[in-house]
Symmetry: C2
Subunit: 264 residues, 2 copies
């Protein structure tokens, strides 16, 4: 069927297609997903101490043309019967075996010739996955083909397509969102200590530094009530000493969504 896609009464030839009036259409609708996680490795020296944490991104080694052998962000082609969001969700599941994680669409990449296979406008997402959820899958998959890379390392690699730019944009986005929303919860257990939260924030946003972090986040619950103390069934304050000698108060995120404003 020949459809007239012309919405604007175009009469000059400049915007008409060279293909004798038939419009050129995209050759696919791919999605690319920057899947981030934070790994924890216990420090050798002291047992009861904070683990070393590192922000990692999942990459896949391409098995065929184009960019065969190069590492790339996972992704795939959207079907006609699904939205790009559904596609990304599906790809995440196929790649990592996880679902129901925080995933967000953040940009479209549409530079001509960004894909040697044809005209491809890619829809880019980022996903934040808890290390614990990823653990089971890790063992199952072939480490030579699918691997976590520290973002510092991945940023210096030569990735397939324009995935370097996509990764950079994804990083900038999660760094911004890490301090303006409560997405840090994706990298934490449901109940966590202030130190753990602080460490997670610093792992993603190295510049983040707040001397009196504990005072700020716990002061005047009524105002900045994004987290609350956890209590035992008996009603006492729940503590944890998994990473410390002295036990620390456990907190959990509330449903409160703070409204930010530069005009206060």
């Amino acid at each position: 069927m020949q459809i007239n896609l012309d919405d604007e009464d175009v009469t000059d030839a400049s915007t008409m297609n060279y293909n004798s009036g038939k419009y050129r259409t995209p050759d696919g609708a791919p999605t690319d997903i920057a899947i981030f996680t934070i790994t924890s490795t216990d420090r050798a020296k002291a047992k009861k101490s904070l683990p070393r944490r590192e922000l990692q991104v999942l990459l896949i080694k391409r098995k065929r043309w184009p960019f065969e052998g190069k590492w790339a962000l996972p992704g795939g082609f959207t079907n006609e019967t699904e939205t790009v969001h559904e596609c990304a969700k599906r790809e995440l599941w196929e790649e990592t075996g996880v679902k129901d994680v925080h995933m967000e669409y953040f940009n479209a990449y549409s530079a001509p010739n960004r894909d040697p296979r044809g005209w491809m406008i890619s829809h880019a997402f980022f996903a934040l996955v808890n290390e614990a959820e990823l653990a089971s899958r890790e063992a199952a998959s072939d480490a030579a083909e699918v691997r976590l890379f520290p973002v510092s390392e991945a940023a210096g690699m030569e990735l397939a397509f324009d995935h370097n730019a996509i990764l950079q944009d994804a990083l900038a986005k999660i760094r911004e969102k890490m301090v303006t929303t409560t997405i840090a919860k994706s990298f934490l257990p449901a109940e966590f200590t202030i130190s753990e939260l602080y460490q997670i924030l610093q792992t993603v946003v190295p510049d983040f530094e707040e001397r009196n972090f504990i005072r700020k986040i716990t002061s005047t619950q009524s105002r900045r009530g994004i987290i609350e103390e956890v209590r035992t069934p008996g009603g006492e304050l729940a503590l944890s000493n998994r990473h410390s000698q002295r036990a620390a108060q456990l907190y959990r995120f509330t449903d409160y969504v703070p409204q930010l404003s530069i005009y206060r």
Copy 2:
């Protein structure tokens, strides 16, 4: 040319296309743009008083199938030789005769069957245009085909395609950004008074209310220095009385980008 788009070694038929192995591809890459402006109408009674302001969105009456006769967001099809961002910029120029305004990509709309013409993944932008820039074009265009609507009115209309949803999303987005970034500058002259800024904020975000607005925004310049006082070439404070009996201090936005954080 038959290309293998399969990135994931798919072997089950479920993800293969019914069209005997040939992938179905999108039928176009449209962009839709929610173009906002704020109109000012002087109040009849008092001359020197704040004008009535209203947030407006530009709509176009469709001239052909599908949704012929319905109002829709302006937009058009992306060419193979441009990015979707360039396409949106071009469409904005064609539609309003303005360029170099604040325009942002905010989402992709990809529900199957959202467009009766075929499989169309639409890329949605919002643009913020100063009333002054739009004025010249207004006279030139056919008001019956291209019109500004108050957003309150447009939100209640039945628009073409899924444009109601797109408009809602665009509104939510600019309301959020209006108080977290300095995009209010798009609706203001380079030099403005505190009252004008406050009025613009309230026009876009009706809930926005700050009793001591002037104190907050002008206190301790070193911290929240998003605006600065304007001075005359002679070094005196520049004032304006276009909207008031008593002259008011003029301000301009600085380049300072405040860093927001829920963790302070």
